[in-house]
Protein backbone atom coordinates (compact mmCIF):
# COMPACT_ATOMS: atom_id res chain seq x y z
CA UNK A 1 0.00 0.00 0.00
CA UNK A 2 3.05 2.12 -0.23
CA UNK A 3 4.42 3.26 -3.61
CA UNK A 4 2.75 5.37 -6.23
CA UNK A 5 -0.33 4.42 -8.24
CA UNK A 6 0.45 2.82 -11.61
CA UNK A 7 -3.10 2.36 -12.90
CA UNK A 8 -6.14 4.28 -11.76
CA UNK A 9 -9.57 3.30 -13.07
CA UNK A 10 -12.52 5.51 -12.18
CA UNK A 11 -16.22 5.01 -12.82
CA UNK A 12 -15.39 2.97 -15.87
CA UNK A 13 -18.31 1.87 -18.08
CA UNK A 14 -18.22 0.04 -21.38
CA UNK A 15 -20.90 -0.89 -23.88
CA UNK A 16 -20.37 -2.33 -27.37
CA UNK A 17 -22.53 -0.52 -29.89
CA UNK A 18 -26.17 -0.80 -28.84
CA UNK A 19 -25.53 -4.00 -26.84
CA UNK A 20 -25.99 -4.41 -23.09
CA UNK A 21 -23.66 -2.75 -20.58
CA UNK A 22 -20.56 -4.94 -20.24
CA UNK A 23 -18.70 -3.02 -17.54
CA UNK A 24 -20.45 -0.75 -15.09
CA UNK A 25 -18.82 1.70 -12.70
CA UNK A 26 -15.58 -0.15 -12.18
CA UNK A 27 -13.18 1.54 -9.76
CA UNK A 28 -9.72 0.19 -9.21
CA UNK A 29 -6.35 1.60 -8.37
CA UNK A 30 -3.22 -0.47 -8.73
CA UNK A 31 0.06 0.40 -7.09
CA UNK A 32 3.32 0.25 -9.04
CA UNK A 33 4.88 -3.18 -8.66
CA UNK A 34 1.69 -4.81 -7.50
CA UNK A 35 0.46 -8.22 -8.72
CA UNK A 36 -3.32 -8.05 -9.15
CA UNK A 37 -5.49 -10.95 -10.27
CA UNK A 38 -8.79 -10.16 -11.97
CA UNK A 39 -11.21 -13.01 -11.44
CA UNK A 40 -14.65 -13.64 -12.94
CA UNK A 41 -16.86 -16.08 -14.76
CA UNK A 42 -16.90 -16.36 -18.55
CA UNK A 43 -18.08 -13.29 -20.37
CA UNK A 44 -18.05 -11.05 -17.33
CA UNK A 45 -15.87 -8.49 -19.08
CA UNK A 46 -12.36 -9.33 -17.87
CA UNK A 47 -10.85 -9.19 -21.35
CA UNK A 48 -12.77 -6.05 -22.11
CA UNK A 49 -11.34 -4.38 -19.01
CA UNK A 50 -7.83 -5.50 -19.91
CA UNK A 51 -8.17 -4.23 -23.46
CA UNK A 52 -9.31 -0.89 -22.09
CA UNK A 53 -6.27 -0.69 -19.82
CA UNK A 54 -4.05 -1.66 -22.77
CA UNK A 55 -5.58 1.14 -24.81
CA UNK A 56 -6.81 -1.30 -27.47
CA UNK A 57 -10.33 0.01 -26.97
CA UNK A 58 -11.95 3.18 -25.62
CA UNK A 59 -14.19 3.34 -22.52
CA UNK A 60 -17.78 4.47 -22.93
CA UNK A 61 -17.76 6.36 -19.64
CA UNK A 62 -15.23 7.01 -16.89
CA UNK A 63 -11.45 7.26 -17.16
CA UNK A 64 -8.31 5.14 -17.03
CA UNK A 65 -4.90 6.51 -16.09
CA UNK A 66 -1.94 4.38 -17.11
CA UNK A 67 1.82 5.03 -17.23
CA UNK A 68 2.83 7.04 -20.29
CA UNK A 69 5.15 4.26 -21.48
CA UNK A 70 2.14 2.06 -22.07
CA UNK A 71 1.77 -1.58 -21.21
CA UNK A 72 2.84 -4.96 -22.51
CA UNK A 73 0.12 -7.56 -23.10
CA UNK A 74 0.07 -11.35 -23.13
CA UNK A 75 -2.93 -13.30 -24.43
CA UNK A 76 -4.34 -16.76 -23.87
CA UNK A 77 -2.99 -17.94 -27.21
CA UNK A 78 0.67 -17.09 -27.45
CA UNK A 79 -0.08 -15.21 -30.69
CA UNK A 80 3.47 -15.63 -31.89
CA UNK A 81 4.06 -14.89 -35.56
CA UNK A 82 4.08 -18.41 -36.98
CA UNK A 83 6.59 -17.58 -39.71
CA UNK A 84 9.25 -16.26 -37.31
CA UNK A 85 11.55 -18.23 -35.04
CA UNK A 86 11.34 -17.74 -31.28
CA UNK A 87 14.28 -15.34 -31.43
CA UNK A 88 12.86 -13.42 -34.38
CA UNK A 89 9.56 -13.05 -32.54
CA UNK A 90 11.34 -11.43 -29.62
CA UNK A 91 13.46 -9.35 -32.00
CA UNK A 92 10.28 -8.07 -33.64
CA UNK A 93 9.22 -6.58 -30.32
CA UNK A 94 12.67 -5.05 -29.87
CA UNK A 95 12.59 -3.61 -33.37
CA UNK A 96 9.20 -2.05 -32.81
CA UNK A 97 10.49 -0.66 -29.51
CA UNK A 98 13.27 1.02 -31.48
CA UNK A 99 16.25 -1.07 -30.39
CA UNK A 100 19.02 -0.73 -33.02
CA UNK A 101 19.49 -3.77 -35.23
CA UNK A 102 22.95 -4.67 -33.88
CA UNK A 103 21.78 -4.96 -30.30
CA UNK A 104 18.66 -6.96 -30.99
CA UNK A 105 20.06 -10.43 -31.37
CA UNK A 106 21.98 -10.40 -28.11
CA UNK A 107 19.13 -8.93 -26.15
CA UNK A 108 16.63 -11.39 -27.59
CA UNK A 109 18.82 -14.33 -26.61
CA UNK A 110 19.19 -12.91 -23.10
CA UNK A 111 15.44 -12.57 -22.76
CA UNK A 112 14.92 -16.11 -24.00
CA UNK A 113 17.41 -17.28 -21.41
CA UNK A 114 15.38 -15.57 -18.71
CA UNK A 115 12.52 -17.93 -19.59
CA UNK A 116 14.86 -20.93 -19.98
CA UNK A 117 14.54 -21.12 -23.74
CA UNK A 118 18.04 -20.23 -24.96
CA UNK A 119 18.23 -23.64 -26.63
CA UNK A 120 15.00 -23.24 -28.57
CA UNK A 121 15.83 -19.80 -29.98
CA UNK A 122 15.90 -20.99 -33.59
CA UNK A 123 12.74 -23.05 -33.44
CA UNK A 124 9.49 -21.93 -34.98
CA UNK A 125 6.31 -21.70 -32.88
CA UNK A 126 4.83 -24.89 -34.29
CA UNK A 127 7.86 -26.82 -33.10
CA UNK A 128 7.34 -25.64 -29.53
CA UNK A 129 4.96 -27.01 -26.94
CA UNK A 130 2.20 -24.80 -25.58
CA UNK A 131 4.18 -24.00 -22.45
CA UNK A 132 7.27 -23.09 -24.42
CA UNK A 133 5.22 -20.82 -26.65
CA UNK A 134 3.82 -18.96 -23.70
CA UNK A 135 7.33 -18.52 -22.34
CA UNK A 136 8.40 -17.03 -25.67
CA UNK A 137 5.38 -14.74 -25.46
CA UNK A 138 6.50 -13.76 -21.95
CA UNK A 139 10.00 -13.02 -23.24
CA UNK A 140 8.44 -10.93 -25.97
CA UNK A 141 6.35 -9.03 -23.46
CA UNK A 142 9.47 -8.41 -21.36
CA UNK A 143 11.23 -7.18 -24.51
CA UNK A 144 8.77 -4.33 -24.66
CA UNK A 145 10.25 -3.05 -21.42
CA UNK A 146 7.06 -1.44 -20.16
CA UNK A 147 6.31 -0.92 -16.48
CA UNK A 148 2.93 -2.64 -16.71
CA UNK A 149 2.32 -6.21 -17.86
CA UNK A 150 -1.26 -7.17 -18.68
CA UNK A 151 -1.96 -10.89 -18.94
CA UNK A 152 -5.25 -12.32 -20.26
CA UNK A 153 -5.58 -15.91 -19.05
CA UNK A 154 -2.08 -16.67 -20.30
CA UNK A 155 -1.98 -20.18 -18.86
CA UNK A 156 -5.59 -21.25 -19.37
CA UNK A 157 -4.80 -23.48 -22.34
CA UNK A 158 -1.90 -25.29 -20.70
CA UNK A 159 -1.92 -28.57 -18.85
CA UNK A 160 -1.79 -28.49 -15.07
CA UNK A 161 1.84 -29.56 -14.73
CA UNK A 162 3.09 -26.90 -17.10
CA UNK A 163 0.83 -24.32 -15.54
CA UNK A 164 2.23 -24.92 -12.07
CA UNK A 165 5.71 -24.48 -13.43
CA UNK A 166 4.84 -21.29 -15.24
CA UNK A 167 3.34 -19.91 -12.05
CA UNK A 168 6.73 -20.26 -10.45
CA UNK A 169 8.42 -18.82 -13.52
CA UNK A 170 6.11 -15.81 -13.57
CA UNK A 171 6.49 -15.18 -9.86
CA UNK A 172 10.27 -15.24 -10.27
CA UNK A 173 10.16 -12.81 -13.21
CA UNK A 174 7.83 -10.53 -11.26
CA UNK A 175 10.14 -10.45 -8.26
CA UNK A 176 13.18 -9.95 -10.50
CA UNK A 177 11.76 -7.13 -12.62
CA UNK A 178 9.34 -5.43 -10.28
CA UNK A 179 6.68 -5.00 -12.97
CA UNK A 180 3.10 -4.11 -12.20
CA UNK A 181 1.10 -7.15 -13.29
CA UNK A 182 -2.63 -7.41 -13.96
CA UNK A 183 -3.45 -11.05 -14.40
CA UNK A 184 -6.88 -12.13 -15.71
CA UNK A 185 -8.12 -15.64 -14.95
CA UNK A 186 -11.18 -17.63 -14.05
CA UNK A 187 -9.18 -20.12 -12.08
CA UNK A 188 -9.73 -19.24 -8.45
CA UNK A 189 -6.73 -21.24 -7.21
CA UNK A 190 -4.48 -19.65 -9.79
CA UNK A 191 -5.54 -16.20 -8.58
CA UNK A 192 -5.02 -17.17 -4.95
CA UNK A 193 -1.67 -18.72 -5.83
CA UNK A 194 -0.29 -15.73 -7.73
CA UNK A 195 -1.85 -12.46 -6.69
CA UNK A 196 -1.06 -10.01 -3.94
CA UNK A 197 -4.60 -8.94 -4.48
CA UNK A 198 -7.57 -10.76 -6.05
CA UNK A 199 -10.39 -8.69 -7.56
CA UNK A 200 -13.63 -10.54 -8.26
CA UNK A 201 -15.84 -9.21 -11.07
CA UNK A 202 -19.55 -9.93 -11.21
CA UNK A 203 -21.28 -10.83 -14.46
CA UNK A 204 -23.67 -8.85 -16.65
CA UNK A 205 -22.73 -6.12 -16.04
CA UNK A 206 -19.18 -6.50 -14.77
CA UNK A 207 -18.72 -4.77 -11.41
CA UNK A 208 -16.17 -5.25 -8.66
CA UNK A 209 -17.90 -7.83 -6.44
CA UNK A 210 -15.18 -8.50 -3.92
CA UNK A 211 -11.50 -7.98 -3.16
CA UNK A 212 -8.99 -10.06 -1.19
CA UNK A 213 -5.51 -9.06 -0.17
CA UNK A 214 -2.82 -11.63 0.63
CA UNK A 215 -0.33 -10.46 3.21
CA UNK A 216 2.38 -13.08 2.88
CA UNK A 217 3.13 -14.14 -0.67
CA UNK A 218 6.56 -15.74 -0.43
CA UNK A 219 6.87 -19.52 -0.59
CA UNK A 220 3.33 -20.14 -1.79
CA UNK A 221 2.48 -23.25 -3.76
CA UNK A 222 -0.84 -24.00 -5.34
CA UNK A 223 -1.29 -26.80 -2.81
CA UNK A 224 -0.52 -24.54 0.17
CA UNK A 225 -3.26 -24.56 2.81
CA UNK A 226 -3.56 -20.76 2.83
CA UNK A 227 -4.17 -20.81 -0.93
CA UNK A 228 -6.78 -23.54 -0.44
CA UNK A 229 -8.51 -21.60 2.31
CA UNK A 230 -8.62 -18.39 0.29
CA UNK A 231 -9.82 -20.37 -2.72
CA UNK A 232 -12.74 -21.77 -0.79
CA UNK A 233 -13.78 -18.32 0.29
CA UNK A 234 -13.49 -16.80 -3.16
CA UNK A 235 -15.18 -19.78 -4.79
CA UNK A 236 -18.18 -19.45 -2.54
CA UNK A 237 -18.50 -15.81 -3.47
CA UNK A 238 -18.00 -16.56 -7.15
CA UNK A 239 -20.60 -19.32 -7.11
CA UNK A 240 -23.02 -16.94 -5.51
CA UNK A 241 -22.43 -14.60 -8.47
CA UNK A 242 -22.92 -17.41 -10.94
CA UNK A 243 -26.07 -18.65 -9.27
CA UNK A 244 -27.52 -15.16 -9.58
CA UNK A 245 -27.54 -15.76 -13.35
CA UNK A 246 -29.32 -19.10 -13.19
CA UNK A 247 -32.87 -17.83 -13.18
Amino acid sequence: MSGQTAIRIEHLGKRFGAGPLVLDDVNLSITAGEFVCLLGASGCGKSTLLNLIAGLDQPTTGSIDTPAEGSAVMFQESALMPWLTARANVELALRLRGVPRAARRGEALELLDVVNLADAAEKRPHELSGGMRQRVALARALAQDRPVLLMDEPFAALDAITRDLLHEELERVWRQTGRTIVFVTHNVREAARLGQRVVLLSSRPGRVAGEWRIAETAGRRIESPEVAALSIEITDQLRKEIRRNAA
Binding site: A41, G43, E211, R213, E226, L230, E233, I242, R243
Partner: protein, 305 residues
Protein backbone atom coordinates in the same frame (compact mmCIF):
# COMPACT_ATOMS: atom_id res chain seq x y z
CA UNK B 1 -13.05 -0.94 0.67
CA UNK B 2 -11.15 -4.17 0.12
CA UNK B 3 -11.94 -6.85 2.60
CA UNK B 4 -8.57 -7.97 3.92
CA UNK B 5 -8.25 -11.59 4.78
CA UNK B 6 -5.19 -12.79 6.57
CA UNK B 7 -4.88 -16.48 6.24
CA UNK B 8 -3.36 -18.60 8.91
CA UNK B 9 -5.28 -21.83 9.03
CA UNK B 10 -7.66 -23.60 6.65
CA UNK B 11 -11.31 -22.84 7.19
CA UNK B 12 -13.89 -25.46 8.08
CA UNK B 13 -13.96 -28.67 6.04
CA UNK B 14 -15.88 -28.18 2.80
CA UNK B 15 -19.45 -29.39 2.65
CA UNK B 16 -20.57 -31.44 -0.31
CA UNK B 17 -22.63 -29.36 -2.66
CA UNK B 18 -25.97 -31.06 -2.96
CA UNK B 19 -27.58 -31.87 -6.26
CA UNK B 20 -30.01 -28.96 -6.53
CA UNK B 21 -27.23 -26.59 -5.71
CA UNK B 22 -25.19 -28.12 -8.50
CA UNK B 23 -28.14 -27.80 -10.87
CA UNK B 24 -28.55 -24.11 -10.26
CA UNK B 25 -24.81 -23.53 -10.48
CA UNK B 26 -24.64 -25.34 -13.79
CA UNK B 27 -27.65 -23.48 -15.09
CA UNK B 28 -26.00 -20.18 -14.20
CA UNK B 29 -22.76 -21.13 -15.85
CA UNK B 30 -24.50 -22.41 -18.97
CA UNK B 31 -26.38 -19.15 -19.19
CA UNK B 32 -23.18 -17.15 -18.84
CA UNK B 33 -21.17 -19.18 -21.28
CA UNK B 34 -23.59 -19.28 -24.18
CA UNK B 35 -24.36 -16.13 -26.09
CA UNK B 36 -27.37 -16.40 -28.36
CA UNK B 37 -26.49 -16.31 -32.04
CA UNK B 38 -27.28 -12.92 -33.38
CA UNK B 39 -28.26 -12.87 -37.03
CA UNK B 40 -27.79 -9.58 -38.79
CA UNK B 41 -31.11 -7.95 -39.57
CA UNK B 42 -32.36 -8.20 -43.13
CA UNK B 43 -32.16 -4.44 -43.55
CA UNK B 44 -28.60 -4.33 -42.29
CA UNK B 45 -27.65 -7.19 -44.58
CA UNK B 46 -29.22 -5.31 -47.45
CA UNK B 47 -27.39 -2.06 -46.78
CA UNK B 48 -24.03 -3.67 -46.11
CA UNK B 49 -23.92 -6.40 -48.73
CA UNK B 50 -26.56 -5.89 -51.40
CA UNK B 51 -26.68 -2.15 -51.85
CA UNK B 52 -22.97 -1.28 -52.29
CA UNK B 53 -22.31 -3.52 -55.31
CA UNK B 54 -25.53 -2.32 -56.94
CA UNK B 55 -24.46 1.26 -56.41
CA UNK B 56 -21.02 0.46 -57.76
CA UNK B 57 -22.49 -1.08 -60.91
CA UNK B 58 -24.74 1.93 -61.30
CA UNK B 59 -21.72 4.22 -61.07
CA UNK B 60 -19.87 2.10 -63.63
CA UNK B 61 -22.77 2.26 -66.06
CA UNK B 62 -23.07 6.01 -65.56
CA UNK B 63 -19.36 6.48 -66.26
CA UNK B 64 -19.70 4.34 -69.38
CA UNK B 65 -22.64 6.40 -70.58
CA UNK B 66 -20.75 9.59 -69.85
CA UNK B 67 -17.84 8.36 -71.91
CA UNK B 68 -20.19 7.62 -74.78
CA UNK B 69 -21.68 11.09 -74.59
CA UNK B 70 -18.35 12.89 -74.29
CA UNK B 71 -16.02 10.88 -76.52
CA UNK B 72 -18.63 9.65 -79.00
CA UNK B 73 -16.67 6.51 -79.88
CA UNK B 74 -17.53 4.28 -82.83
CA UNK B 75 -20.54 2.22 -81.74
CA UNK B 76 -19.01 -0.98 -83.10
CA UNK B 77 -16.05 -0.56 -80.74
CA UNK B 78 -17.75 0.92 -77.68
CA UNK B 79 -21.51 0.47 -77.79
CA UNK B 80 -23.68 2.51 -75.43
CA UNK B 81 -25.31 0.82 -72.43
CA UNK B 82 -28.64 1.30 -74.14
CA UNK B 83 -27.38 -0.63 -77.17
CA UNK B 84 -26.52 -3.58 -74.96
CA UNK B 85 -29.92 -3.49 -73.30
CA UNK B 86 -31.53 -3.28 -76.73
CA UNK B 87 -29.48 -6.25 -77.89
CA UNK B 88 -30.76 -8.28 -74.96
CA UNK B 89 -34.37 -7.33 -75.52
CA UNK B 90 -34.06 -7.93 -79.26
CA UNK B 91 -32.67 -11.38 -78.63
CA UNK B 92 -35.47 -11.98 -76.15
CA UNK B 93 -38.17 -10.88 -78.53
CA UNK B 94 -36.85 -13.03 -81.33
CA UNK B 95 -36.86 -15.94 -78.90
CA UNK B 96 -33.18 -16.67 -79.53
CA UNK B 97 -32.19 -15.70 -76.02
CA UNK B 98 -34.69 -18.03 -74.38
CA UNK B 99 -33.66 -20.83 -76.72
CA UNK B 100 -29.97 -20.26 -75.98
CA UNK B 101 -30.52 -20.09 -72.22
CA UNK B 102 -32.67 -23.20 -72.05
CA UNK B 103 -30.34 -25.16 -74.33
CA UNK B 104 -27.27 -24.20 -72.34
CA UNK B 105 -28.85 -24.63 -68.93
CA UNK B 106 -30.33 -27.98 -69.89
CA UNK B 107 -26.96 -29.23 -71.08
CA UNK B 108 -25.07 -27.72 -68.19
CA UNK B 109 -27.40 -29.20 -65.58
CA UNK B 110 -27.72 -32.59 -67.25
CA UNK B 111 -23.95 -32.80 -67.72
CA UNK B 112 -23.43 -31.75 -64.13
CA UNK B 113 -25.86 -34.39 -62.88
CA UNK B 114 -24.06 -37.07 -64.88
CA UNK B 115 -20.78 -35.79 -63.47
CA UNK B 116 -22.20 -36.11 -59.93
CA UNK B 117 -23.44 -39.60 -60.66
CA UNK B 118 -20.02 -40.64 -61.93
CA UNK B 119 -17.87 -38.56 -59.59
CA UNK B 120 -19.50 -39.43 -56.28
CA UNK B 121 -18.95 -43.21 -56.26
CA UNK B 122 -15.52 -42.70 -57.81
CA UNK B 123 -14.59 -40.17 -55.12
CA UNK B 124 -15.83 -42.46 -52.33
CA UNK B 125 -13.90 -45.36 -53.76
CA UNK B 126 -10.70 -43.34 -53.99
CA UNK B 127 -11.16 -41.82 -50.54
CA UNK B 128 -11.64 -45.16 -48.84
CA UNK B 129 -9.37 -47.50 -50.77
CA UNK B 130 -5.85 -46.34 -50.07
CA UNK B 131 -3.83 -48.14 -52.77
CA UNK B 132 -6.30 -47.05 -55.44
CA UNK B 133 -6.06 -43.51 -54.18
CA UNK B 134 -2.28 -43.53 -54.33
CA UNK B 135 -2.41 -44.69 -57.92
CA UNK B 136 -5.35 -42.75 -59.33
CA UNK B 137 -5.48 -39.68 -57.08
CA UNK B 138 -2.55 -37.81 -58.64
CA UNK B 139 -3.92 -38.50 -62.13
CA UNK B 140 -7.26 -36.98 -61.19
CA UNK B 141 -5.57 -33.96 -59.64
CA UNK B 142 -3.48 -33.66 -62.79
CA UNK B 143 -6.60 -33.73 -64.93
CA UNK B 144 -7.90 -30.81 -62.91
CA UNK B 145 -4.89 -28.84 -64.12
CA UNK B 146 -5.70 -29.57 -67.76
CA UNK B 147 -7.89 -26.84 -69.26
CA UNK B 148 -11.06 -28.67 -70.27
CA UNK B 149 -11.10 -26.57 -73.42
CA UNK B 150 -8.22 -28.77 -74.59
CA UNK B 151 -10.63 -31.69 -74.78
CA UNK B 152 -12.86 -29.91 -77.26
CA UNK B 153 -10.83 -30.74 -80.39
CA UNK B 154 -10.44 -34.37 -79.38
CA UNK B 155 -14.11 -34.63 -78.54
CA UNK B 156 -15.04 -33.11 -81.89
CA UNK B 157 -12.99 -35.71 -83.72
CA UNK B 158 -14.60 -38.51 -81.74
CA UNK B 159 -18.16 -37.33 -81.63
CA UNK B 160 -18.39 -34.74 -84.40
CA UNK B 161 -20.34 -31.57 -83.84
CA UNK B 162 -22.94 -33.23 -81.67
CA UNK B 163 -24.25 -33.02 -78.13
CA UNK B 164 -21.99 -35.90 -77.16
CA UNK B 165 -19.02 -33.58 -77.66
CA UNK B 166 -20.49 -31.03 -75.29
CA UNK B 167 -21.27 -33.61 -72.62
CA UNK B 168 -17.86 -35.21 -72.92
CA UNK B 169 -16.14 -31.88 -72.33
CA UNK B 170 -18.41 -31.07 -69.39
CA UNK B 171 -17.66 -34.42 -67.79
CA UNK B 172 -13.92 -34.07 -68.24
CA UNK B 173 -14.15 -30.67 -66.60
CA UNK B 174 -16.47 -31.45 -63.71
CA UNK B 175 -15.66 -34.99 -62.61
CA UNK B 176 -12.13 -34.30 -61.30
CA UNK B 177 -13.46 -31.40 -59.20
CA UNK B 178 -16.20 -33.48 -57.67
CA UNK B 179 -13.90 -36.41 -56.98
CA UNK B 180 -11.26 -34.18 -55.44
CA UNK B 181 -13.85 -32.35 -53.37
CA UNK B 182 -15.16 -35.59 -51.97
CA UNK B 183 -11.66 -36.89 -51.23
CA UNK B 184 -10.76 -33.64 -49.49
CA UNK B 185 -14.01 -33.79 -47.56
CA UNK B 186 -13.35 -37.33 -46.36
CA UNK B 187 -9.77 -36.42 -45.50
CA UNK B 188 -10.96 -33.55 -43.36
CA UNK B 189 -13.23 -35.75 -41.28
CA UNK B 190 -11.67 -35.45 -37.80
CA UNK B 191 -10.20 -38.87 -36.94
CA UNK B 192 -11.80 -38.41 -33.52
CA UNK B 193 -15.26 -38.71 -35.08
CA UNK B 194 -14.38 -42.02 -36.71
CA UNK B 195 -13.03 -43.27 -33.41
CA UNK B 196 -16.16 -42.20 -31.59
CA UNK B 197 -18.18 -44.06 -34.19
CA UNK B 198 -16.14 -47.19 -33.63
CA UNK B 199 -16.39 -46.85 -29.86
CA UNK B 200 -20.17 -46.46 -30.14
CA UNK B 201 -20.19 -49.79 -31.93
CA UNK B 202 -20.76 -48.73 -35.54
CA UNK B 203 -20.00 -51.34 -38.16
CA UNK B 204 -18.18 -50.41 -41.37
CA UNK B 205 -21.32 -49.52 -43.26
CA UNK B 206 -22.87 -47.60 -40.36
CA UNK B 207 -19.62 -45.75 -39.87
CA UNK B 208 -19.64 -44.68 -43.52
CA UNK B 209 -23.28 -43.58 -43.68
CA UNK B 210 -23.81 -42.22 -40.18
CA UNK B 211 -20.42 -40.62 -39.54
CA UNK B 212 -18.03 -40.26 -42.46
CA UNK B 213 -20.47 -39.11 -45.14
CA UNK B 214 -22.25 -36.43 -43.11
CA UNK B 215 -18.92 -35.24 -41.79
CA UNK B 216 -17.49 -35.02 -45.29
CA UNK B 217 -20.46 -33.02 -46.55
CA UNK B 218 -18.87 -29.56 -46.46
CA UNK B 219 -15.96 -30.69 -48.63
CA UNK B 220 -18.34 -32.49 -50.93
CA UNK B 221 -20.54 -29.44 -51.38
CA UNK B 222 -17.48 -27.31 -52.05
CA UNK B 223 -16.45 -29.85 -54.66
CA UNK B 224 -19.90 -29.78 -56.20
CA UNK B 225 -19.81 -26.02 -56.38
CA UNK B 226 -16.47 -26.06 -58.10
CA UNK B 227 -17.69 -28.90 -60.30
CA UNK B 228 -20.60 -26.75 -61.43
CA UNK B 229 -18.28 -23.84 -62.16
CA UNK B 230 -16.16 -26.13 -64.29
CA UNK B 231 -19.22 -27.61 -66.01
CA UNK B 232 -20.39 -24.16 -66.94
CA UNK B 233 -16.97 -23.03 -68.13
CA UNK B 234 -16.44 -26.18 -70.17
CA UNK B 235 -19.89 -25.89 -71.65
CA UNK B 236 -19.25 -22.35 -72.81
CA UNK B 237 -15.90 -23.30 -74.27
CA UNK B 238 -17.39 -26.26 -76.09
CA UNK B 239 -20.28 -24.21 -77.44
CA UNK B 240 -18.04 -21.44 -78.68
CA UNK B 241 -15.57 -23.74 -80.40
CA UNK B 242 -17.89 -26.43 -81.63
CA UNK B 243 -20.47 -24.50 -83.61
CA UNK B 244 -22.63 -25.95 -86.32
CA UNK B 245 -23.42 -29.55 -87.05
CA UNK B 246 -26.22 -30.99 -84.96
CA UNK B 247 -25.12 -28.96 -81.96
CA UNK B 248 -28.06 -26.91 -80.85
CA UNK B 249 -28.04 -23.20 -80.22
CA UNK B 250 -26.67 -22.36 -76.79
CA UNK B 251 -25.28 -19.22 -75.18
CA UNK B 252 -21.78 -20.04 -76.42
CA UNK B 253 -23.07 -20.38 -79.96
CA UNK B 254 -24.93 -17.09 -79.56
CA UNK B 255 -21.72 -15.42 -78.43
CA UNK B 256 -19.81 -16.78 -81.38
CA UNK B 257 -22.60 -15.84 -83.78
CA UNK B 258 -22.82 -12.26 -82.56
CA UNK B 259 -19.05 -12.05 -82.82
CA UNK B 260 -19.17 -13.23 -86.41
CA UNK B 261 -21.67 -10.50 -87.12
CA UNK B 262 -19.20 -8.07 -85.49
CA UNK B 263 -22.09 -7.09 -83.19
CA UNK B 264 -20.25 -5.96 -80.08
CA UNK B 265 -23.43 -4.89 -78.29
CA UNK B 266 -24.74 -8.41 -78.83
CA UNK B 267 -21.49 -9.93 -77.60
CA UNK B 268 -21.54 -7.85 -74.43
CA UNK B 269 -25.22 -8.63 -73.92
CA UNK B 270 -24.47 -12.35 -74.15
CA UNK B 271 -21.55 -12.04 -71.74
CA UNK B 272 -23.87 -10.29 -69.29
CA UNK B 273 -26.42 -13.07 -69.61
CA UNK B 274 -23.75 -15.73 -69.02
CA UNK B 275 -22.48 -13.83 -66.00
CA UNK B 276 -26.01 -13.35 -64.66
CA UNK B 277 -26.78 -17.06 -64.97
CA UNK B 278 -23.53 -17.98 -63.24
CA UNK B 279 -24.28 -15.66 -60.34
CA UNK B 280 -27.91 -16.71 -60.20
CA UNK B 281 -27.12 -20.42 -59.98
CA UNK B 282 -24.57 -19.63 -57.30
CA UNK B 283 -27.09 -17.56 -55.33
CA UNK B 284 -30.11 -19.78 -55.87
CA UNK B 285 -28.65 -23.26 -55.75
CA UNK B 286 -25.39 -23.32 -53.89
CA UNK B 287 -25.34 -20.37 -51.50
CA UNK B 288 -28.44 -21.42 -49.49
CA UNK B 289 -27.33 -25.05 -49.41
CA UNK B 290 -23.89 -24.06 -48.20
CA UNK B 291 -25.11 -21.47 -45.72
CA UNK B 292 -27.59 -23.88 -44.23
CA UNK B 293 -25.01 -26.60 -43.90
CA UNK B 294 -22.37 -24.31 -42.43
CA UNK B 295 -24.82 -22.65 -40.07
CA UNK B 296 -26.01 -26.01 -38.77
CA UNK B 297 -22.42 -26.87 -38.01
CA UNK B 298 -21.57 -23.47 -36.60
CA UNK B 299 -18.96 -22.98 -39.30
CA UNK B 300 -20.55 -19.89 -40.77
CA UNK B 301 -18.47 -16.83 -40.04
CA UNK B 302 -20.75 -13.82 -40.06
CA UNK B 303 -18.41 -11.22 -41.39
CA UNK B 304 -19.13 -7.75 -40.29
CA UNK B 305 -16.12 -6.52 -38.50
Amino acid sequence: MPRDTLLEAPVAAPAATDHDDLRSLEAGLDRLQTTPERRASAWRRFTTSVLPPILFVAVLVAAWQLYIVIAQPRPDIVPAPADVVNAISAAWESGRLQLAITTSLERGILGFLIAIAVGTPLGLLLAEVRPLRRAVGPIISGLQVLPSVAWVPAAIIWFGLSDATVYFVILMGAIPSIVNGLIAGVDQVPPQLRRVGTVLGARRWELATLVVLPAALPGYVAGLKQGWAFSWRSLMAAEIIAMGGTIGFGLGSMLQQTRELADLAGVLATILVILAIGILIELVAFAPLERRMLRRRGLLVERDR
